[in-house]
Amino acid sequence: MSSKYHSPNMDRRSFVKIVTSILGTTMAAIVGLPMIQFFISPALNKATGDDWISLGPLENYPLDIPTPFSFNLTRVNGWERSSQSYGAFVLRQSGTDVIVFSDVCTHLSCRVSWDADQDSFFCPCHAAFFGKYGEVISGPPPRPLDRYETKMEEGQLLIHFQEG
């Protein structure tokens, strides 16, 4: 190596090391950063749903007893289109006075069922009871059962299903 090409500031070794680290970091970033985005991508598309769902004529539901109703919605997740089932409980109090509860437990999202003997909703996951009006009787749930917004249209009971 002639001294003409010799830098007083840096030897060949350090030069190669620096160039290698810069190139290496650049390449790792070009592949690595998009990879993070690639992995979290589905988390960024929030499911959205906004629909009025008909539960049929109000007269179908007995007075004063929470009665289950389930409906299916088509959801697309990635490459799969599937029918997802949702549950609700209709509590008809008088003529047109009605409450519709979601069956999703407010603790950690198991599904509750109506237990006629106990006169309450029961969640099997952590043994929680909710009263007929959704209020927490015992167990870990932090708040009463959620309620759907309702309306009557041409004699039909409708609930407002929202997600996202």
Binding site: Q37, F38, F39, P42, G78, W79
Partner: protein, 219 residues
């Protein structure tokens, strides 16, 4: 501070020694053809990384394989990039590995004491071709379906045991869900495991024996 942590670790783990043995080896004066082995290694790592990423969304069943890849290409951010890297990287890896093999051959670098390095290298080349063959079926489109039909049919022409090989490859007489699933298992578990072990042996030998000189007129 950083220096003393490093010294502490180095004393126990022998980091400097590892660095010196792997990266500070003595090498003869070489040329650019000698970079092809490292290039293949780099591309192999890239295939591994992008492959792991693809397997986050890919499903190896006839009713979803194609749709899952369509989802990667259109529904996942940077899906085109990750799949593109894996797709083109596969061909490029075969090229770099093959030219690496040619270089070793024409420089006579496979001779004593490096016969075993050559042997592991040939094994790696076959492994990489196997990865290409099994990976090609995974998109489950017309091209991959018929390519695998033809490929396994070729294996079927071997005298006596041909039909048996064909049925082992396909997992039965027909190209089916069973074929797709076993090609996937070969592609992401079995061949990679074999290849990783062989790469370790290959590199161990390269480091232990050193790189051969470019042959001169007298040799």
């Amino acid at each position: 501070m950083a220096q003393s942590i490093f010294t502490w670790l180095d004393e126990r783990l022998g980091l400097t020694e590892i660095y010196d043995t792997i990266l500070d080896r003595k090498v003869p004066k070489v040329n650019w053809w000698f970079t092809l082995g490292s290039a293949s290694l780099f591309l192999g790592l890239l295939q591994g990384i992008t492959g792991m990423m693809l397997s986050v969304y890919y499903v190896p069943t006839p009713d979803h394989a194609y749709d899952s890849i369509t989802y990667i290409m259109t529904g996942v951010q940077f899906g085109w990039l990750i799949r593109g890297l894996h797709h083109w990287g596969a061909s490029l890896l075969i090229l770099t590995a093959f030219f690496h093999l040619l270089r070793v051959f024409f420089y006579g670098a496979y001779k004593y004491p490096r016969e075993f390095t050559w042997f592991t290298g040939v094994f790696l080349m076959i492994g990489a071709l196997g990865m290409g063959f099994t990976g090609y079926l995974l998109p489950w489109n017309q091209r991959s379906y018929w390519a695998t039909t033809v490929g396994s049919e070729i294996a079927g022409t071997v005298p006596v045991v041909g039909d048996f090989i064909l049925r082992v490859l396909r997992g039965g007489t027909d190209l089916s869900a069973v074929t797709l699933s076993r090609f996937f298992a070969m592609h992401i578990w079995i061949l990679p495991a074999v290849i990783i072990a062989t790469v370790c042996a290959h590199l161990y030998l390269v480091i232990r024996l050193g790189i051969s000189n470019i042959p001169d007129r007298d040799s």
